[in-house]
Amino acid sequence: MKAVYAIACLLALSAVSADVCYNEVSMECGRATSSLALPSCNAVYGNFGRQGNVANELQAYANLHLRRSYEYLLSAAYYNNYQTNRDGFHKLFKKLSDEAWAKTVEIIQHVTKRGGTMDFRSRSSLETEARESTLELQELESLAHALDTQKEMAERAFFIHQEATRNNHKTHDPEIAQYLEEEFIEDQAKTVRDLAGHTSDLKQFITANEGKDLSLALYLFDEYLQKVV
């Protein structure tokens, strides 16, 4: 009798296709077994994790932040050894590392917020084979590296945003777009601009006075970084 009732309920409700979780509950609760599967009662909605690759891209974005966070940590360490001894550069990279680390955790939390599972092996479709490169760079090189990698992260946010907002019903996901805008895109513009500004300053100091100012310029610029970072 119960089963008949459940089926009747199900038929009545199947007109509203969105009630999948409710329907499962109605079905399963009516059965005599003591187990409830309810596979549709989850946080997944929209296209996240279904057809589009927004879910995969977001996981890959967390992995990128994790990798960069430890790379920046090593750059910070390098600038804190007794030979380089540049406290300002150390501080700059330490800050980039801390920010990337905090974002790693936040993105993982957002993946699970949308009903996804974090996969630490996910790679972006934009990613090419990572080339081995040294992090033991001199001052201007290290700023250039920081600028390039920060731009890469900013452009990756644009890419995921594009996937989430392009007029494609398979990937459209305004929640992800809004999340990226609020938590990433605005701050990234500032970070990129700051690093580009530092690079311009340092470039001028290096070439000024036929390069004779170089060692004092690097020293002073490092002192300056200690104040502004």
């Binding site: 940590l73 090593l74 390098y78 974090m118 001199q138």
Partner: protein, 215 residues
């Protein structure tokens, strides 16, 4: 073409070692004060990698307990916090090496990011016990670093005891390990007792306690 590439790579490598128009020539200052021995240094480097791996393993635990189907925000918070702590341990050891005049070279190879070994736990108890097991391994590894640094040989083959590093690891690191292990063991015991009679409610309530919530 290949030769050209090789030259470019060579130039890139050399530019860091010698002065260019963009950087100052490296200077030479006395090095007698740099006294860490080879074996001790490499065991500390390995320990740094181990702390980093632990931080990633804890990230995976935080991710697991954040899932909609698992829904244990208290456990997730515990493990995300533990993850950041492990990163701080790596940073403390790096700072120690820097204080001792290390990490002027071979900085890039210090840390490799690998995906976590485990990504699924059957329950909160399972995860707490797994974390305890991991911490026990870390403690053992720190003890091995201590043993190595206590009786290593320097470049001339003389016995060398790195008193200060040994003291630092024993006092700071081991103390934190033992406290952390005791904390995890206590949590696992309490939870297991709650689970014995009331398995699902027990974990639910314990999770909210971890969040600092009174229910």
């Amino acid at each position: 073409m290949k030769i050209f590439l090789a030259i470019v790579v060579l130039l890139a490598v050399c530019s860091s070692a010698f002065g260019t128009q963009c950087n100052v020539n490296p200077v030479n200052i006395p090095k007698q004060w740099i006294t860490m021995t080879h074996g001790c240094r490499s065991s500390v480097r390995q320990q740094i990698q181990m702390e980093v791996s632990a931080s990633i393993q804890y990230l995976a635990m935080g991710a697991h307990f954040s899932r909609d189907s698992v829904n244990r925000p208290g456990f997730a918070k515990l493990f995300f916090d533990a993850s950041s702590e492990e990163r701080e341990h790596a940073m403390k050891l790096i700072e120690y090496l820097l204080m001792r005049g290390e990490l002027t070279t071979n900085v890039t190879s210090l840390i490799t990011i690998r995906p976590p070994e485990r990504k699924h736990w059957a329950s909160g108890v399972d995860a707490l016990e797994d974390a305890l097991k991991m911490e026990t391994e870390v403690t053992k590894a720190i003890k091995n670093v201590i043993i190595k640094c206590e009786s290593d040989r320097d470049g001339q083959g003389h016995e060398n005891n790195d008193y200060h590093l040994v003291d630092y690891l024993t006092g700071d690191f081991l103390e934190e390990q033992y406290k952390g292990q005791r904390d995890l063991a206590g949590k696992a015991s309490t939870l297991k007792k709650m689970m014995e009679r009331h398995s699902s409610l027990g974990e639910f309530i314990f999770d909210k306690k971890l969040l600092g919530m009174d229910i």
